[in-house]
Symmetry: C4
Subunit: 240 residues, 4 copies
Amino acid sequence: MDIIDKGAAGGGISYSRRMAAEGVGTAMLLAAVVGSGIMGERLAGGNMAVALLANSIATGAALLAIITTFGGVSGAHLNPLVTVADACLGCRPWREVPGYLISQFIGALAGVAAANAMFDEPPISPSTHARAGFSLMFAESIATFGLLLVIHGCSRFARPHLPFAVAGYITAAYWFTSSTSFANPAVTFARTATNTFAGIRAADAPGFVAAQLAGGAAAVVLIRWLFGVPAGAAKTIDNS
Amino acid sequence: MDIIDKGAAGGGISYSRRMAAEGVGTAMLLAAVVGSGIMGERLAGGNMAVALLANSIATGAALLAIITTFGGVSGAHLNPLVTVADACLGCRPWREVPGYLISQFIGALAGVAAANAMFDEPPISPSTHARAGFSLMFAESIATFGLLLVIHGCSRFARPHLPFAVAGYITAAYWFTSSTSFANPAVTFARTATNTFAGIRAADAPGFVAAQLAGGAAAVVLIRWLFGVPAGAAKTIDNS
Amino acid sequence: MDIIDKGAAGGGISYSRRMAAEGVGTAMLLAAVVGSGIMGERLAGGNMAVALLANSIATGAALLAIITTFGGVSGAHLNPLVTVADACLGCRPWREVPGYLISQFIGALAGVAAANAMFDEPPISPSTHARAGFSLMFAESIATFGLLLVIHGCSRFARPHLPFAVAGYITAAYWFTSSTSFANPAVTFARTATNTFAGIRAADAPGFVAAQLAGGAAAVVLIRWLFGVPAGAAKTIDNS
Amino acid sequence: MDIIDKGAAGGGISYSRRMAAEGVGTAMLLAAVVGSGIMGERLAGGNMAVALLANSIATGAALLAIITTFGGVSGAHLNPLVTVADACLGCRPWREVPGYLISQFIGALAGVAAANAMFDEPPISPSTHARAGFSLMFAESIATFGLLLVIHGCSRFARPHLPFAVAGYITAAYWFTSSTSFANPAVTFARTATNTFAGIRAADAPGFVAAQLAGGAAAVVLIRWLFGVPAGAAKTIDNS
């Protein structure tokens, strides 16, 4: 479903504009994730808790801004799993999924390149940051499961609060999951391209994505029962 | 009362779904409390203020997400004392209380086990973290007293702000009470099962719960006079 | 004016209940200010920036909760200058001012005593924390000036945002004023009674209060011209 | 466009009052930026990440308060580029631009002087803080580009969330851009006048402003296509 869908529902915003919104929004998200990671690590003088505090607060604050900015155009998914779960739950036609996913992956990579360039790193540099093991993969599945629950529960019952809920969830999940909560295949893919604080070794990315898919599938099953499938009318609820 | 009751009031959501929402929501809360405590302590390099900053920000941010997600289904109590106080004040039938409490206790323990597993700790490990003494118990009673005031004051007069108010209150109370504000018997019980930052020795749990009960009872008396008992109509106020 | 006045305007809440709300609310505020200061200083290992970060975040988060909780009953002034400025601007009858002020001063002292007791400090202990000099007094007048502008600008034009605006302002002002922004005579008075992080030497309190009065008077003049005197109708604006 | 325009649209607030609101609001913003930078650096004991955490949280929190306070009077632009972009997009008559800009520049300088005075620094002291190089200028153009997108996307589709979105964006951008996101010519100009944490050498200011103009121009082009030009009716949307 669209996170904030007043525009999408009422105005017939073109598919190309919605794809652009997903691309630019995802680019801004990755620039925030990677850029704040670099800045945090450089300034923290070795205290990784302070670096992660900066990284998590900056990511949550950026998400709040990005979702409110692009939500009215494209729904501000910024995440292939959010788009696919939407289609699974009947909230979005499957034919729109490929364009959304392409925009998200391209945007994510562009955002990483921009962050690297802002901090004088090579635009694309393979990460050597190892993130492997069962407990991290378990954490990724929990992180994704929770994220989809938050998006769909809020969308049904407290839509104007959704940008705050997603931002709050991600800020928290950076801390409460051992994997620091990627919870997003496009983000995982793009973070292989920065050899900095937020990076992940390419070899570890498939495991993360598999775990995310498992968590996402479980969430879809629970959402269908717990929150119910939204009526078509839900898409015209005002977000003001 | 339900924190966000649009769904509960209008849609006749089944008791089993509401119990599930309480269980999953409380599990997410405990995963956030315990997981962020572990991550904070591991990264903080011995600076306990930085660890508690991470723990308190993550807990507040998670609460904001969890309450907005499950509020429309079950009211998002996540706390046996909130449910019991609701029944005392006539906002909820007593027959619904046992199911809510069972869900909260089971969910809390599951959340602790998930957090332990994400961080390669044994799923259930008895805490050795001593938390005793009169001043800590006094703090727990103050923390619970304040929490119930916040929930009922906001519910009457500023319902859309309630998820923010509860999240803000708990983030603050981690710092302004010497006990770091458990304020919740299910949380207290479950935190005996993790031998990490957020743990509490089982021997100290009964004192905490007794103090919480005392603070909660005082709050119910004050709420009845200060805010008044909500009219039935209050349950249909829109939260948008 | 009442910060959130739905209840006060519509329900005819009795003066005694409104005085109680001011008293309990101000007590919670002071418990948060002093308690989080003690906890922050004890845990921060000598890094005063980390202690002030905890203190400022906890105070802002508590204010958000307190204002939304008690705003519907008493307006949640929590501050004699807010009450007096209200009367000066014609938003409140002068005859209600003394009761509000008495409640605020008593509540503030009770909150300090509670915080001290929670942390095993003597309930009342004179502060030896020197806070004097022209620049600190200049800072207090700026802090108070800004606080009143925020309260009245938001009340006129963005009332539902007011609890967030006041919380944000105080969190910021802890950092951007050299005095850490007391901006409240009841708070200043009560903080002379704790010999901890948040305390102020009794000898320095009159200077702070004088500076606050000067800043408040300037704010009232500017508010009258810039925002205009609210019409009676403004008191019935819904805060949902 | 006006960020919160209920007042401006409905009440015919005079041009002089709107100019005053821009001046006072921008002064408060600069006092917050510079003051919290000084306090953060003095207390952080050399850990620049902790200082920037304080600076970024204080700035975001202050922005939330300032935008909600003055938004109903002047739109709370606080930034010449926001005003000029408004005029480019047809949301504001060009004849109002000069007064807004003059107020913003004068207010910004007054805010810096107030911050310096509160902390016993000379009111105006030329900064020696070097901020030069291509990557910083690239960062400024990205920061400004994103800021304008956030303002216009939110204004069209989620106007009540705008103060939160702008505050969140700036808090994040302090971390995710290597330049710490000035993104504002009046802010850049005024920060040459403080030889403290937030200062910038006068010689480096023109490069920052040029980069901001480039980013702003790109944003205006994208906004026109992606969000569309707002209908006149958009100016009367209620912000409650």
